[in-house]
Symmetry: C2
Subunit: 330 residues, 2 copies
């Protein structure tokens, strides 16, 4: 394994230090934690419901890269592929609550769900109002190594963007939670890997794929998917994923959103080629794409591959996705 790191036990703290040092006007670190909170001028001047997310590290720019005006108020980083601790989540909640309550956006992994729930109880004991939404957009498998139900993957960034825009516009906590849940219910993702990620503490890819193989339905922590097949041209990969995702939507009229997400080790060039094939096929199917995004948004260390997210969107969600934000990663 070759990686640009120092000691494996310092990876997360040094990463967060680097992120904060290179973006001092945007974010600051909450003392004694690996959580970051908004540090822009507007943050202290405008009251809104706080929006906090977090999870294991290794998915950057998720979540710290989405902290900023119009998106997250704070993000909590756990160790690599490991849930953040309840006390750190609790500190982030306290740092962003302005009396209007805090919405927690949690990806559906057992550890995350448990730790965010404990932090919620700690905050509620302080009379901070908390609502939680759990993202489970990955339709490739039911249950998984670290999950009851479906996994939360790249669709999370779309949830964070829409909820963040709504929170900035003044929406109250209960309505935000309801909006977030509705977005989650309409967001569906499948990922494919050409090569698994190398977790630094492990030192080699967590599973092996042959030189001509691609795995369908992988998770963002090297969870295995639903099949291994020979790699095909991008057009055919796009076709296979679209066929599987689109049957999740009983009504294919109205507006849709597409996110082509790079897993970390796949160049932007290939992501755009894949996005071109996705949009061509959706156009052939008369499915209207009103907003789309391409890039390394929710990664899995150096995994090679992409994921495809399709969301059935209300008009107001498109507006919220298009609103400018001030973040590192959107």
């Amino acid at each position: 394994m070759k990686k640009i790191i120092n000691k494996t036990e310092d990876i997360v703290s040094e990463m967060i230090a680097g992120l904060v040092k290179t973006n001092p006007k945007l974010v600051k670190q909450i003392e004694g934690t690996t959580a970051v909170v908004r540090n822009d001028v507007k943050f202290s001047q405008t009251k809104q419901v706080g929006v906090v997310s977090g999870g294991g590290s290794g998915h950057e720019p998720l979540h710290a890269g989405y902290v900023g005006d119009g998106m997250l108020s704070a993000a909590v980083a756990g160790e690599v592929f490991t849930s953040p601790t309840p006390d750190q989540i609790y500190e982030a909640i306290k740092a962003v609550d302005q009396g209007l309550g805090v919405l927690l956006i949690v990806k559906n992994y057992s550890g995350d769900v448990m730790n965010f729930d404990m932090a919620k109880e700690m905050a509620e004991a302080d009379d901070i109002k908390i609502e939680t939404i759990v993202v489970d957009d990955d339709i490739s498998v039911e249950n998984s190594e670290f999950t009851q139900g479906k996994r939360g993957v790249a669709g999370t960034v779309l949830v964070e963007k829409i909820v963040g825009a709504a929170a900035r516009s003044g929406m109250n906590l209960a309505d935000l939670a309801a909006l977030g849940q509705k977005v989650i219910d309409n967001t569906k993702t499948i990922g494919i890997a050409l090569q698994a990620a190398t977790v630094p503490a492990v030192g080699h890819p967590s599973f092996e794929l042959k030189d001509d193989e691609v795995e369908y339905g992988i998770g963002i922590h090297n969870e295995r998917g639903y099949s291994v097949e020979k790699i095909k041209p991008s057009k055919e990969l796009a076709h296979q994923l679209i066929e599987k995702i689109i049957q999740e939507f009983s009504d294919q009229t109205g507006k849709f959103v597409v996110l082509v997400n790079g897993m970390g080790g796949t160049p932007l060039m290939e992501q755009y080629i894949f996005a071109n094939d996705v949009l061509n096929e959706l156009a052939d199917k008369k499915i209207q794409v009103a907003f789309s995004k391409v890039g390394n948004k929710v990664t899995s260390l150096d995994m090679q591959g992409v994921s495809l997210t399709i969301m059935k969107a209300e008009d107001s969600w498109i507006d919220m996705l298009e609103e400018p934000v001030n973040t590192i990663g959107w």
Copy 2:
């Protein structure tokens, strides 16, 4: 080789199609070319000097990802690692000239310099005023496989940002060219690779490094560097590059800019760890960093590695780097 592509000969046209389809409000394709031009509302309403860049593909988001208000007016994409043709560059020039002339930003490769020069002659025959600046920020080697003199690498994105901001503010063509040249003269870069890039038409990495080796001074087209050594902790890699770059600046007072650039296959996590080490060492040396940036900005397909760019900056350049822009990749 596993890549998410269709036919190798269609890579660039399909990539540009994907980029344009997913960003229709921002950019449009110039018919019959793989060049893109600003498509935002402001573009047709405000007169400014046009700023055009381009080069071989495989370095995304450079250059098309930097087209937008406050940065490039247009970008021309050649085939993978291959200069764009003069006729395509000429079409881009014509698409952006508003009567105030056009500045060409060229990376210092023989093919690029020649083809941009031919396009300049074609445009001048149409009475379009043209100035050219040539970026040669890579201090690792003199001359190279495709270069007379030094190579143009990641510092290009800083030049494009500063010149783009100045052009938006109304600076005239001659002053823009002088500003750009001054920025180039104060911008120094070295890159390291843990693994070479795989060019799709070749099918394997262009050179081999052992499991514990890193190569110093590589270019963005798999050009070899100045030494191969055992890989070291990030702190020591940062130290070695800083020592070599900083001696280029006789005066180490004043403000500096740092860009930690990912080469395409290295996760953001490692880039932030490396950035942390760079900023710590510069702070120890009492070198004042007034602006910094981290990310996959000027890539080399799936190359694993990073580059470090340090610029000695005037106050006004810092302001221009901080100005908001509307682009895919900044």
